[in-house]
Symmetry: C2
Subunit: 397 residues, 2 copies
């Protein structure tokens, strides 16, 4: 065992044999030259507010350099927690003390799982659901069960039935412009879901990275803001979609004793988030015009979503179903006809186009004829070209 | 259960009843005005190379703004992995591909624990050992057993005995200027420990944040660089002590299939580290004179360590034992006489001085008369004043 070159680490069962996430492998494949990728939820960098963000970092180094470079609290920088609370105040009373900063939303999901999940605990998720949440929950021992959804999100009576059957540790939902489906729960559906959760005393982990990317009107209030729900919800936000993902700044809101547990978990996982990025994001949120930025991005994404939907109608086989999102970053297509989109992807990559096969978004019993496509990265012209390539791949399949 | 205000989240067993780390609580206490704190390992910000670091961020925004703000790989930015490999090349062959970037060393410790520890697995640690590593390992189910140490680090035949008895998943060591003891293992001791690990085929997790803060001579090569050890070691480094902690940049070196597992764990825990900080640190390492910075800091810390050792001789009771580190950030004192340093701390805080009671640094059977003091934060004059206060607290005890 100790002879040089033959040593094998003995892995934890939770990671023994685990593959890397399909999204990650795809992002690798996608770096091949000439591939048009609809795989990642990668915002178009042309719309980053580079000068404003740079100015925020400049201001931090000009005014708080020593603090930005020093150790700090596990909860996060107060100015950032203030800004987070300020944004949530649109929907619900929130104090800075109720905010725990995370290094992006993914860390938040992992922190939640560490804090709540015992091996074997059931977590209810949407069917389909966000695949990196599946990973974070399962590595902490969760048994995921998918709740049937319609064009309005989880179906309340199905949710109630599964809660009664499994007494889940929590329900994980992405109510606004869900990843991967793009579906946005209506106000009525949110109320119905809140009612089920309240009556059954079930904890909610609500993930809301996309809510502000609504193409029309105002963002819907989170389920956490329904009367009675704030105390039984952990609500996750991120600036990845409203500022930029590379800074890795997210946060979560909770009330009561759970806050302390989340902070202890965060501390064990990563001590604290980088102060540099926290202070710069706080400065940006305090001084830049976030609404103006969103108003610039929203119509661009709306146009791209429309272009993608239209092109998909052209290239997908008869009977295929495609969602028509009113916000967010993703379209979801169900091809049917026994098509396995994982096999289709291999052909598609040869044709120079990438997407994410849908199977990994299912907690169980995957529908292998599904796929997720992001519409935010490319212009309508490139989207058209990419979907032409998808059409050629389908013809060869 | 669902009545408003009465909702209680059902916690995971791993965090149910867990307290926050004593260091964290202390850092809170320490923010009280007028307290001289030797508690945290908080570098003196007067020695941060603020202008060079700021220039590195500037350069990133000038040359790679879109990249710095975009999603990126879980392994980390290539330039940073190159710089990490370049630094390790002083001791052992290392390619950039062998480097996994982490958001500070703490995340690295958690990633390692996720990847290797099954509930109930034994991990051998130094007695005493770094308390945040204890937390990261225990939250992932590890059963920690402390290996007896002397003024040279872990005692090889004790290590071998405990390996035979427990077949540990891995051994966790901080060979250079250990936290909390300040002890640095000699070259001979490192070789003897490597011999035990090689003969028994035992994995090593080597944590080396302090190695470059040696007061004289060159840093000792890591145990990972001993012939045969590189394949069975995960070696963790951080820039917290050579640049600044607030940027949260660390990395780990490993070889073979374990690299993939570490990357998958990192991905589940936090997707990727902030690109902003990664690129800025890479730029800093590539262009700033790290050695000149260290040559500026080393004599300052050496003088402070000496001042603290001298003052401790003055104020501690007869028979107290104090380590005399040749580097790093910490002194370790054993007061004996049945003194409980947790109780002493309460009096000390009233007198206006803080340290970390030693009990939390023990995996089991704590010696409650021990304490950790950091000598890096304050000038010799402030150290003298702080230890006068400690003397008054001891008199009152």
């Amino acid at each position: 065992m100790s002879a040089q070159g033959e040593f094998r680490f003995r892995l934890a069962d939770r990671l023994d044999g685990v593959d890397s996430s399909p999204v990650r492998d795809l992002l690798d494949a996608v770096s091949k030259e000439g591939v048009i990728s609809f795989a990642g939820g990668v915002p178009d960098p042309a719309y980053f507010e580079v000068e404003d963000i740079r100015a925020a970092y400049d201001w931090v180094f000009e005014n708080h350099a020593e603090r930005a470079l020093q150790y700090a609290s596990s909860e996060g920088e107060f100015e950032l927690r203030e800004q987070a609370a300020f944004r949530l105040e649109r929907y619900m009373e929130t104090t800075p003390e109720q905010i725990q900063v995370t290094t992006g939303s993914q860390e938040g999901l992992f922190v939640v799982a560490q804090a709540l999940v015992n091996p074997g605990d059931v977590v209810l998720v949407e069917r389909p659901t966000y695949l990196a949440a599946v990973q974070a929950f399962e590595l902490n021992g969760a048994r995921l069960i998918g709740v049937p959804t319609d064009e309005n999100g989880v179906i309340p009576h199905e949710l109630e039935k599964l809660i009664a059957e499994h007494s889940p540790k929590f329900v994980y939902l992405i109510p606004s412009f869900q990843n991967p489906s793009g579906v946005c729960m209506s106000v009525e559906r949110r109320a119905a879901v809140a009612d089920v959760l309240l009556r059954t005393g079930t904890a909610l982990v609500e993930d809301d990275p996309y809510g502000e990317l609504c193409f029309e009107g105002e963002p819907f209030p989170p389920i956490a803001s329904h009367p009675g729900m704030s105390a039984q919800t952990i609500l996750l936000n991120s600036v990845s979609k409203i500022i930029a993902p590379g800074v890795r700044v997210g946060w979560m809101r909770s009330e009561g004793p759970i806050q302390f547990t989340l902070t202890v978990a965060k501390q064990a996982i990563g001590l604290q988030s980088p102060v540099t990025d926290q202070l710069a994001v706080a400065r940006y949120l305090a001084t830049a015009d976030v609404e103006a930025h969103l108003d610039k991005v929203r119509p661009v994404y709306a146009q791209r979503a429309k272009a993608m939907y239209r092109s998909l109608q052209r290239v997908l086989p008869d009977g295929a179903e495609v969602t028509q999102p009113d916000g967010g970053m993703f379209l979801w297509a169900r091809l049917g006809h026994g098509i396995d989109t994982a096999r289709l992807l291999e052909i598609a990559l040869d044709e120079g186009v990438a997407f994410v096969p849908g199977a990994s978004f299912f907690a169980h019993d995957p529908d292998r004829s599904t796929m997720r496509l992001s519409f935010v990265t490319h212009s309508p012209e490139v989207i058209d070209e990419g979907l032409d390539r998808l059409g050629r791949a389908l013809a060869k399949y």
